[in-house]
């Protein structure tokens, strides 16, 4: 059905030009022929040489990041287009530091002068117009410099009467690094609306679904970076994401949601319509099964997390603990206390045991693929211009280090090359068992533990809600972390020693945290790969960044001895008064 067809003039896109990627630090210039890069370099050089306000300090460090984004989105429901959006822009973010590496204008927060904390951001020309770009960069740099001076003065004033408990530098020293991944590639956004419409039409004629939406996003992110230490890069990230979301309301009114997502880099990697249809149909069928399943009773005992559930558990519970996020020093005691509760407990566990001896975890942005499938956490260089590299986070159960940026912490003084926007993020998280069980052995162990507790059944969780996308009250929305640290359990089964299984619905984990991981009793020998989104910002923390960072997680199934599963708290809306328009009487 076509009524509102967007007319895209046939645009010949220079797709998939061969990337000229190189990481040769001796290369003289990154993106040598780029007008934008030239403008960035020239204004950077001028600012470092000349930018000074009377007797004030000159900048000791300056970095320009340009986020160039050509993005589109199209959302559809049941074969009808809901909305489309398509645009292009370039955003310049200036990072300018005054003072020195040990003590500068950053890592400080004062509500008395909140505007000085704002990042200097400017929309700059998408035309490669040298003069205009120089002017826009000049004005943004000027703003950044004045704010930096303000912030440094405020920080000195606030800290002069305090003895700092920890002497931690504000910025790490790094070797210059260059990476040139500049191509002229783009993603053609024009297939997105039709694809969204087609996939959404799969959910037609299913009155058990109260709502459903399919969104297709395309983006071609090109990051330009240059800093005053000689680092520079151009990094490109093509991305096409398809999200199919659906909700069903059970007879008691409880709403059940689920979704599938497909991420690829190019249109030719997108599964064909048969495969997409099958995925979406399977999800819709699961919702139908869940609707009719009994509500979870309270259960405490052994729980086995398989497949996607294991990956989500690692991402949602362990993930935020694997990053060393330094919160700014506030100038007032109330805020200092508030920030203290966001302190990552793993900072105090470095060198100690956080997992059983038979498990290790690495974050590996250099890993291209897992069993032939490209990984989404792959990254050549981070947003600080530090080369991304494999980091062994947990070795044989012992926590070795955390992922970090150039903002050091006492416990993690160096950058691991993990900066995304303003925070460290994992890349490909790989949970490696040194001793795993076969599927049968693991089940046997599960029932043994259940028997010990006098239970006639155990619980297996195969699917947990993601933080990627949900159907909100009004429409499609992306969400960050919620107050509860694990999303609702979507695929939960009571399993019995005779091999039978019963699906249950409305289940969530009760008081589950990172310390439970130390008590994993067994894992599978086989691992599976899942893609999901990671949000580095703890709930409630003010930060310039937000959003979801795509990662891949490779993990075995995880068996916990003592987990509580119960019905989630909160009341349930009553079921609809009128029947679904498609429902048969």
């Amino acid at each position: 059905m076509k009524w509102a067809q967007t007319t895209f003039a046939a645009t010949a896109l220079a797709l998939a030009a061969t990337p000229m990627a190189q990481d040769d630090a001796t290369a003289t210039e990154v993106a040598k022929d780029s007008v934008l890069m030239q403008a960035l370099r020239d204004e950077l050089a001028r600012s470092m040489q000349e930018l000074q306000l009377e007797d004030a300090q000159r900048p000791y460090f300056l970095a320009y990041r340009v986020f160039e984004n050509a993005a589109s989105s199209a959302t559809a429901s049941l074969g009808g287009l809901l909305n489309v959006n398509n645009g292009q822009n370039r955003q310049l973010v200036v990072e300018l530091r005054v003072g020195d590496y040990d003590f500068d204008n950053t890592n400080f927060m004062s509500l008395r002068n909140a505007s000085a904390m704002l990042p200097a951001i400017a929309a700059i020309s998408v035309d490669d117009d040298y003069d205009t770009l120089r002017r826009q960069i000049w004005l943004a740099t000027d703003t950044a410099y004045k704010r930096a001076l303000d912030q440094l003065a405020g920080k000195r004033a606030a800290l002069q009467n305090k003895t700092q408990v920890e002497e931690v530098a504000d910025f790490t020293r790094e070797e210059p690094y260059r990476f040139d991944g500049w191509t002229e590639s783009r993603i053609d956004p024009s297939p997105a609306p039709d694809l969204a419409v087609q996939v959404s039409a799969v959910m037609q004629g299913m009155p058990h679904l109260s709502r459903s939406e399919v969104r297709v996003l395309t983006s071609y992110d090109r990051s330009w970076f240059v800093n005053s230490e000689g680092s520079a890069f151009v990094r490109e990230t093509p991305f096409i994401g398809l999200y199919a979301l659906a909700a069903s309301q059970a007879d008691d009114g409880a709403e059940l949601q689920d979704g599938v997502h497909v991420w690829v880099r190019h249109w030719d990697e997108m599964p064909d319509s048969t495969a997409l249809t099958a995925k979406v149909q399977a999800m819709a069928n699961h919702l139908l099964e869940r609707r009719e399943a009994p509500v979870a009773d309270r259960y405490s005992g052994p729980v086995l997390f398989e497949d996607q559930a294991a990956a989500e558990l690692v991402t949602q519970v362990l993930g935020p603990r694997l990053i060393a996020l330094r919160l700014p020093t506030p100038d007032n005691p109330q805020m200092e206390q508030a920030f203290a509760q966001f302190r990552n407990p793993f900072l105090d566990k470095i060198g100690g045991r956080v997992l059983p001896r038979f498990l290790s975890i690495v974050s590996d942005p250099t890993l291209e693929a897992h069993e032939g499938v490209p990984l989404h956490g792959r990254q050549p260089v981070d947003d600080d211009g530090v080369p991304a590299r494999r980091i062994a986070l947990i070795e044989r159960g012992m926590l070795k280090t955390l992922l970090s940026t150039r903002t050091p912490l006492a416990e993690v003084p160096a950058s691991s090359g993990s900066r995304w926007r303003d925070a460290p993020v994992p890349s490909n998280i790989i949970v490696q068992p040194t001793r795993g069980m076969s599927a049968e052995e693991l089940k046997e162990e599960l029932f043994l533990l259940a028997e010990d507790r006098g239970l006639d059944h155990a619980i297996v969780v195969r699917r947990i809600g993601t933080r990627l996308a949900k159907l909100s009250a009004g429409t499609f929305g992306f969400f960050g972390p919620e107050a509860s640290n694990v999303e609702p359990l979507i695929g939960v089964y009571k399993v019995y020693p005779d091999g039978s299984e019963k699906r249950i619905r409305l289940a969530s984990l009760s008081a589950f945290s990172e310390s439970d991981f130390r008590d994993i009793v067994a894992v599978s020998d086989a691992t599976t790969r899942h893609e999901t989104g990671f949000s580095p910002i703890p709930p409630g923390v003010p930060a310039a960044s937000g959003g979801i960072w795509p990662i891949s997680v490779i993990t075995p199934a995880l068996l916990f001895e003592d987990v509580t599963v119960r019905r989630p708290p909160g009341n349930i809306r009553k079921p609809p008064v009128a029947p679904h328009p498609l429902a048969k009487d």
Partner: protein, 580 residues
């Protein structure tokens, strides 16, 4: 919060997809002819089922607002981005109780909170999908209505008797209408060239730190059905060119200039030469403004240009004539008891007329055929020969005014209330500019003032109509002249025009023989809506100005790139001030 704001800029800025070369009709829509039928089918089904409930509904309406927008932005001679978007938002008005007393009644015992939380539900124009979403959202609305109806009933018991005993909803006659779906013509390559051209002259000035040019178009189509039997489809295109630029004076004061051209047709937009002449004027205004002297807080006589006067009337009069404000328990209700009284000189009349699409050579953005409650637009005189005669009415009745006059308006996601349309000030005896100026100087001299003020260009304004804060208004000018007693006119800066409504009204003494149109967006509790204000210039015997909020940021430290001279020293003094 009853604070309303009008500005040149429009709210949601979308912007653009792009296709190189060749004019293409973006989103050429073959609109589903039966959208209204699908809506009516689900409306009737819901009406039937929900009328059988213990608490039945008595009224239900659906409105779908589709916007297909395209925009291109430029700055200092280069394109900074483009956007193209298509959205379709759903609004449902569902009522339980009766027109005399329903779930939408004001909760007088409750103060504060966020009553106008906005959620936008997107809908497609496909049969099954549209019906499913209508069904699901109607059910949500019904449950919200039940909850609120319970609160309303208990509120009525704990609150004192209401001052205004009118009901909650007016009964109106069914309307039928259908328009062709409007399509916007977008030529992205040409638009890119134009925004480059329009924003380029600002780069010659080292002191301009922000300069943007935007071309924007929107094809807006609305489908509306209600249980009274109305079924309306309307559709219009809007085109706009906006230019804005800012400079900074040595003392840090940010000095903005904005201009915009609005049209209902692509050919109605001005040609490049006209826009470029405006841009050149803005460049020289900005240079002159930097050098202009500051004005200290002052009261005295002033002239307001037609555009300034239009916004002045919009703020002090228009918002206070919005019907529902006459019974809101927290509202100032300035004019509630003044119907039949003279509030302006008898040569002045004011009318709100959404049926006029063009006046004084300019298209009016506040024009529409039907409001957002299915009521036909009509001309509403509110001040006749100086006497207050009427209010702007949506379907919320007030004592003595039981019916709507087609001013129930909203943006997608908000509940409609009475809002302004095209405000037109009509004056039977006018004076030439020289006569107004002479009268101004005579008044200044008589009061012992060394000068009068002329408010020429303005950015917008706002007013507070509630009771918890002073009932003041603020009109924010960008170009102000001091008219000295010797008749010379000198550009000044640093002041906003402020006042309180009744005092300001009582000081209007005369009007000019000119007419100017201000097209803008008005923000209030039912969201941003497009409005126009058309007025001659006026003479006011006494106004008050207060100092503008001022940034303390210094000028850029380095000179502009490629310019060897310092930003401080290079500038010519400019032709500060004098204006013939």
């Amino acid at each position: 919060m009853d604070r309303t704001r009008t500005a040149v800029g429009f709210g949601a800025r979308g912007s653009h997809l792009v296709t190189p070369a060749l004019a293409v009709a973006l989103f050429a829509t073959s609109a589903l002819a039966d959208v209204l039928d699908v809506m009516r089918g689900e409306l009737e089904r819901s009406h039937q089922v929900l009328s059988d409930q213990k608490t039945p509904i008595y009224y239900l309406s659906y409105e779908i607002t589709e916007d297909k927008t395209a925009s291109v932005n430029g700055s200092f001679g280069a394109v900074t981005g483009w956007n193209q978007a298509e959205t379709r938002g759903l609004d449902i008005d569902l009522r339980v109780g009766s027109p005399d007393f329903d779930n939408t009644r004001e909760l007088r015992s409750q103060r504060g909170g966020f009553p106008n939380f906005r959620t936008i539900v997107q809908v497609p124009l496909a049969d099954e999908a549209l019906r499913t979403i209508l069904w699901y959202q109607t059910d949500r609305k019904y449950k919200d209505a039940l909850e609120r109806f319970t609160m309303v009933r208990s509120d009525e018991q704990v609150s004192v008797e209401a001052d205004d005993q009118s009901g909650d909803f007016s009964v109106e006659k069914a309307e039928q209408a259908s328009e062709e779906t409007a399509v916007i013509e977008v030529d992205r390559a040409a638009w890119e060239d134009r925004v480059r051209r329009f924003s380029a002259p600002f780069s010659a000035s080292p002191h301009v730190f922000q300069a943007n040019a935007t071309i924007w178009a929107d094809a807006e189509t609305r489908w509306y059905v209600n249980t009274e039997g109305s079924a309306i489809k309307t559709s219009s295109a809007y085109y706009r060119i906006s230019i804005s630029a800012s400079t900074r004076a040595e003392d840090g004061m940010v000095l903005p200039r904005t201009e915009q051209f609005f049209s209902l047709t692509p050919e109605g937009l001005p040609d490049d030469e006209t826009v470029m002449a405006t841009v050149r004027q803005m460049v020289s205004d900005l240079e002159a403004l930097r050098e202009a002297p500051l004005v200290e807080p002052y009261t005295g006589p002033a002239m307001l240009s037609g555009r300034a006067s239009g916004v002045f009337f919009h703020e002090i009069l228009g918002h206070r004539l919005e019907g529902h404000r006459q019974k809101g328990a927290t509202e100032g209700q300035t004019f509630r008891k003044m119907v039949g009284e003279a509030v302006l000189p008898e040569t002045f009349s004011v009318v709100f007329d959404p049926t006029i699409k063009r006046l004084g050579g300019t298209d009016l953005v506040g024009a529409y055929r039907y409001d957002n409650q299915g009521v036909k637009a009509r001309r509403v005189p509110v001040i006749e020969d100086g006497v207050l005669t009427n209010f702007l009415m949506g379907r919320i009745p007030i004592e003595g005014f039981p019916k709507s006059n087609g001013h129930g308006r909203k943006n997608t996601g908000f509940a409609p209330v009475a809002r302004q349309s095209n405000l037109i000030v009509e004056v039977s005896q006018t004076k030439t500019r020289d006569e107004l100026k002479a009268q101004l100087l005579a008044m200044a001299e008589k009061e012992g003032k060394p000068f009068g003020l002329l408010f020429d260009r303005i950015q917008g304004g706002f007013t507070i109509t509630g009771r918890s804060l002073p009932n003041a208004f603020n009109v924010t000018p960008t170009v102000v002249y001091r008219i000295n007693l010797d008749g010379s006119e000198e550009l000044v800066r640093g002041v906003d025009l402020i006042g309180t409504p009744l005092t300001a009204f009582s000081r209007i003494v005369a009007a000019g023989d000119d007419l100017a149109v201000f097209n803008g967006t008005c923000g209030a509790e039912s969201g941003p809506v497009p409005v126009s204000a058309v007025s001659p210039s006026i003479l006011v015997s006494q106004i008050e100005v207060q100092k503008k909020d001022k940034s303390q940021t210094r000028l850029p430290i380095l000179s502009p790139p490629g310019n060897p001279a310092s930003a401080f020293g290079a500038m010519l003094p400019g032709s500060a001030g004098a204006r013939r």
